[in-house]
């Protein structure tokens, strides 16, 4: 039985060979006609706005046309099926890397869904346990799960549709190996999909792979259709189905009391907000936001700075006029040193005179929170899209920015 790490390594190697072979052939003067077709196809994409369904169809049609062109081409005369196949894999990788920024997460709707899934997963991460999906204890193997998560998280670092599919396959193979090994060591029959799908769902929630929806859509539209069949199609379908399950997940989807589910979700939402506010109140928070090196950073810092100066002013006012320190003056509640004077208050001890202060603190918090949300949105969008090189017909753009994406994984993840 293959160990998971070796299977993922061996899966990556042939693809590299294939691709360099493809580039070599494209440098051959005899392939000039093909190179022209490819370049003009790529250029033609810059004339129109993104339209995923239409773009997908165009790319698929182009692949089909090119496949017959390659089959008839003198450079591939007497070539084996495998050689043509590897040329097609090379072509797919080349074209889709060039068109990546144009085709990946190209609509605001996609960006929104990505965010929605990622946020939902963040909430679920705070309380979801394997038992809630009835995953038996003998399948709860942290080491295997971690490997599977790692494989899945790579999906966002790669640009070629085939390589994204391989990440899914590797992740699923690790789960399969776990199921096979567990059934042998526990002497139980294999549970099949009844066991596989819950584990996959749990691993996706633990991994929270960035831009899950966009990655799925990208594969659906741009992986050559003849290749998304059989085992690859099965595991891909499982990923789609797990994503659907997570998006629709409610109290009834889990082995958990409905009230407990709602309470946990509520608590998770609050915790996320507190984390945001705490981050904003420390000057460190501003620095990390401001130093991402994105064009937006000035805006972000400005928003942040104005939010902070407002905070400082009004909070200082409150401190001066402030409600009796003996009850409310508890600074430990925030890490930034600014007091939220009513945190320890009890309704019975408030006076009408406190209404004005309460209102001003409330406004402060809301203003800060909305500014922060805006700032985080500004930061998070370019952060996840950032590793895309410009496509100036330069092969250096194929060097995969494998390390950069780790920065785009959500900092809120508690793993």
């Amino acid at each position: 039985m293959d160990t998971s790490s070796s299977s993922s390594a061996s899966a990556a190697a042939p693809s590299a060979v294939t691709f360099y072979d493809f580039l070599d052939r494209m440098r051959n003067p005899a392939s000039l006609d093909l190179v022209r077709s490819i370049k003009s196809f790529i250029v033609s994409f810059s004339f129109n706005n993104a339209n995923p369904e239409n773009d997908g169809k165009r790319v698929q049609e182009f692949f089909t046309t090119m496949e017959s062109a390659i089959k008839d081409h003198p450079l591939w005369a007497n070539a084996t099926i495998e050689a043509i196949e590897s040329a097609m894999e090379g072509l797919e990788k080349y074209v889709m890397t060039k068109l990546f920024s144009r085709t990946f997460a190209s609509t605001s709707e996609d960006v929104k869904i990505d965010q929605e899934i990622s946020e939902k997963i963040c909430l679920l991460q705070t309380f979801l346990r394997p038992e809630h999906l009835d995953i038996p204890t003998f399948l709860q193997n942290e080491a295997s799960w971690l490997l599977a998560e790692k494989e899945l998280q790579k999906i966002n670092a790669l640009k070629a549709p085939r390589e994204k599919v391989l990440c899914i396959m590797n992740c699923c193979r690790i789960i399969n190996n776990l199921l096979l090994n567990a059934s042998i060591s526990e002497n139980v029959e294999l549970g099949g999909a009844d066991d596989f799908l819950p584990v996959l769902i749990y691993i996706i929630i633990k991994a929270n792979p960035p831009q899950l929806h966009s990655n799925i859509k990208f594969i659906q539209l741009y992986r050559r259709q003849a290749m998304l069949v059989s085992e690859a199609a099965y595991y891909f379908t499982n990923l789609v189905s797990a994503k659907t399950f997570i998006l629709d997940l409610n109290a009834k989807s889990l082995s958990m009391e409905e009230t407990e589910f709602e309470k946990s979700m509520q608590a998770a939402r609050l915790a996320n907000k507190v984390t945001l506010i705490e981050e904003s109140t420390t000057s460190n928070g501003i620095k990390t936001l401001g130093e991402q090196g994105h064009p937006e950073r000035h805006d972000v810092t400005r928003i942040e700075a104005s939010a902070m100066s407002n905070d400082r002013k009004s909070l200082e006012e409150q401190r001066r006029v402030g409600p009796s320190q003996r009850i409310y003056g508890n600074n430990t509640i925030t890490s930034g040193g600014y007091g939220y004077p009513f945190m320890e208050a009890e309704a019975s001890r408030l006076t009408t005179g406190d209404v004005e202060k309460l209102l001003s603190v409330y406004k402060d918090v809301v203003r800060k929170y909305t500014n922060l949300c805006r700032a985080v949105r500004h930061v998070s969008v370019p952060m996840t899209v950032a590793p895309i090189p410009h496509f100036e017909g330069n092969n250096s753009s194929f060097k995969q920015p494998a390390t950069k994406t780790s920065a785009s994984t959500d900092s809120k993840r508690g793993e």
Binding site: E189, G191, G192, S230, S241
Partner: protein, 202 residues
């Protein structure tokens, strides 16, 4: 887990095997590749049936994909044609029921499995049949399978009920035991027989 007891390493009930397929299909379709989806309540032994089939057919020279939930198995027919079954298992738990269409879309064969000791699983099977009639591809080949036939003494769904329901819905019906391997091969052979064959021109 889904199966009734451990599977003994015997292979009774398989004699005769593929000889039944002498009259199957036309000789023009040389290599069929068929997507087969398994539906049924969790615990009815869907995956056991398939494992039994794949392991029972085991031939060291054939390429067999044994995963936990996706398996493929090629059977050679007497007329030198082959049918490669690509078997898609689905999670049977109620909470995943809404996801099933993602799996049976484009399937040429649906095998709906219930447990003869569980009337609930028989009801669930009927639910899947209706689902498939509404949303599956119109020319899908459907089989209704009553599994765990070795558990006679615990039987709660009479074979007659299965036969009648299958007849009414134009399905093929068989009772199997993944435990003893009874009727496992017959199930897949019968499916192979019923597959529409592509025309000679293809």
């Amino acid at each position: 887990m889904g199966c009734s007891g451990s599977v003994p390493a015997r292979s009774s009930g398989q004699s005769g095997g593929l000889n039944n397929l002498e009259n199957a299909g036309s000789s023009d379709a040389k290599n069929l590749r068929v997507k087969l989806v398994l539906l049924g309540d969790s615990g009815v032994g869907k995956s056991c049936i398939v494992l039994r089939f794949v392991r029972g057919q085991f031939d060291p020279t054939s390429k067999v994909t044994v995963g936990a939930s996706f398996l493929s198995q090629t059977i050679a027919l007497q007329d030198s044609t082959t049918v490669k079954f690509e078997i898609w298992d689905t999670a049977g738990q109620e909470r995943y029921a809404a996801l099933a269409p993602l799996y049976y879309r484009g399937a040429a064969v649906a095998v709906v499995v219930y447990d003869i000791t569980s009337p609930d699983s028989f009801n669930k099977a009927q639910y899947w049949v209706k689902e498939l009639q509404k949303h599956g591809s119109p020319d899908i080949v459907m089989a209704l399978v009553g599994n765990k036939a070795d558990l006679h003494e615990k039987r709660e769904v009479p074979a007659q009920d299965g036969i009648e329901y299958a007849e009414k819905n134009g399905m093929f019906f068989i009772e199997t035991s993944a435990k003893t391997a009874d009727n496992i091969n017959q199930l897949f052979e019968e499916i192979a027989k019923r597959l529409p064959r592509p025309s000679p021109s293809s």
